[in-house]
Symmetry: C2
Subunit: 339 residues, 2 copies
């Protein structure tokens, strides 16, 4: 089969890779119908950390082609969505809603879903069947649910966005934008998008942002406080993962407020005394997207949300390298790869 | 009046200080009947940070002697408890239960309650009247409520201790021990006290600890996981404030669990990537003791809890220096100063 392989930073190729096979009785093999390039794929692309001929991709939708002998919840021919972490959905951690840290987790990034096919470990726990036949628009949204929507949703839930709350959102990538959509759906009263890009501001407003703050760092914090009677936001979504963005998120949050951080952390160091003084709740990490998938699929298939609009560039799998380049150069917010 | 002044690290004296006066119409003056030496007083005592003739003390119970013209909730003669932060109890932060970060907060440590009298700013918001006449035992417990009990209680609430939960407690000082009492009252199923001191282990058990772990650091984390089917605690109380204790608390907590940290942070640096991977909720800081005072006073005055037993050394104010020394040398867990 054909699949994306990153040979080195900046060097993305589409190559022949061996077809996946059932390795465990709990596995399924899916024919991937669409995958995407993730903001987190840009970290190795830009040289953060080592990368040497790694299969790429962890977001996917597709059709079940083969199942292991122990698989019961999905059948051949099912159209399915899964998250970027394969999880059994039965251990105590999964049952508490943290499937991204399942006791038996397998990171889908280690398998690589930017490919024609993919092995899905723990298929019963990982995959959720889509009812009915999705439209093209719904299909794009289902793909978004696989990671960026689910991650933005978790960030909003972790930040305790809800009725009466003012939510600040740091980061205007696909996750930050869909965090806005999530906060809006969860009933937030006011949503402050921190963004300085006109096109993303526009999408932010479409998703429910009520205010735009262009300032960053201390100036951004000051502006959020100004908009909230000096108190700061009740809930802040952090969707970048840098030192500046984390401090901006914590600083923009009022004492007793909540920060949901989902930007993959790079070189972030938090000073204990500052955190102590801040008196905010922090919850973040790899989003347990699986927790939200049934609800998100329902919202998408009933056209209540349309997160698929974050895909502003669609390319065939063979042109994956151009997709990475476009996102790296910020010519695209989120790239969909059709297969 | 007589009051404690720290001239320099290790140099604590009881001296004549000016009697406090009403400075704002919202002030009250109380006659302090008992104060204590706090674990956090030991930081400057041991030379962490600068200290130059600072009035000391922030825990207190006493009798209202004088009130400003705007004070309505307490009257002269009332027996009152307050927390270590004066707060208006009306701003949005206070109303959300984070009085320790009140928009108009005054740190009582800057006033110094290890003294015969103290000015209490924002008296209406800060002070809570004790109904009836407390016994000697109740009096000690009310003094504990002023800080160590309220702080341990907040840590347990921040860690979401409750029915069905396994709670780990890092730190066996007065706050950690009373965190155990709080977790027990909040219905925790299992409480793991991390302590290697026999006398404190005994008090931990008296307060409701079901297991004792003597190991620290990675070995302590491994032991907590061993006791919890490999998952880690649902809820962890951190009541020390060092790098080792914070990492021990985070490491002992299962993904999706909660850490309540109340040890005043010293030289703690948290790695963002480690925190991201941990996927635990962190909430800490100066405890909003005021939130819990009415409930704690009720529990104490009806003899449902007896936190006052943490005071294992009682000295007259004039011997405050010996109280600091005893705590510094770990000859005492918590020192009460009678006035």
């Amino acid at each position: 089969m054909r699949g994306v392989v990153m040979h080195a930073p900046g060097d993305v190729r589409v190559e022949d890779r061996p077809d996946p096979i059932i390795e465990e009785p709990t596995d399924a093999i899916i024919r991937v119908t669409a995958a995407c390039v993730c903001g987190s794929d840009l970290w190795p692309y830009r040289g953060a950390g080592e990368v040497d001929r790694a299969p790429m991709g962890h977001e996917y939708i597709g059709i079940v082609e083969q199942i292991g002998s122990a698989v019961q919840n999905v059948a051949i021919g099912d159209f399915v969505v899964g998250s970027f972490v394969a999880s059994d959905n039965t251990c105590e951690i999964c049952q508490a809603g943290f499937q991204s840290r399942c006791a038996h987790q397998v990171m889908m990034g280690s398998i690589g879903t930017q490919a024609e096919k993919a092995r899905i470990p723990l298929a019963d726990g990982t995959l959720v069947k889509v009812p009915g036949k999705p439209t093209e628009e719904q299909t794009r949204s289902l793909l978004a649910a696989s990671d960026v929507l689910g991650t933005g949703w978790f960030a909003a839930v972790a930040a305790e966005a809800g009725p009466g709350k003012t939510v600040a959102v740091v980061g205007d990538g696909a996750v930050g934008l869909l965090g806005i959509l999530a906060a809006n759906r969860l009933g937030a009263e006011r949503i402050i998008a921190m963004s300085r890009h006109a096109d993303r501001q526009s999408l932010a407003k479409q998703f429910g942002a009520t205010d735009i703050v262009e300032e960053r760092g201390d100036a951004g914090i000051a502006r959020v406080k100004e908009l909230t009677n000096g108190y700061g936001a009740h809930s802040t979504i952090e969707a970048v993962g840098t030192q500046e963005s984390m401090l901006q998120a914590i600083g923009a949050t009022r004492p007793g407020g909540h920060v949901g951080f989902v930007g993959v952390s790079h070189d972030v160091e938090l000073d204990g005394a500052d955190l102590f003084t801040a008196t905010v709740s922090l919850l973040g990490g790899p989003a347990p997207v699986r927790r939200f998938l049934p609800e998100l699929i329902e919202l998408i298939m009933t056209d209540q949300i349309n997160p698929g609009v974050v895909f502003d560039l669609t390319l065939p799998l063979e042109q994956a390298a151009e997709g990475y380049k476009a996102m790296d150069e910020r010519r695209a917010t989120k790239v969909m790869l059709t297969i």
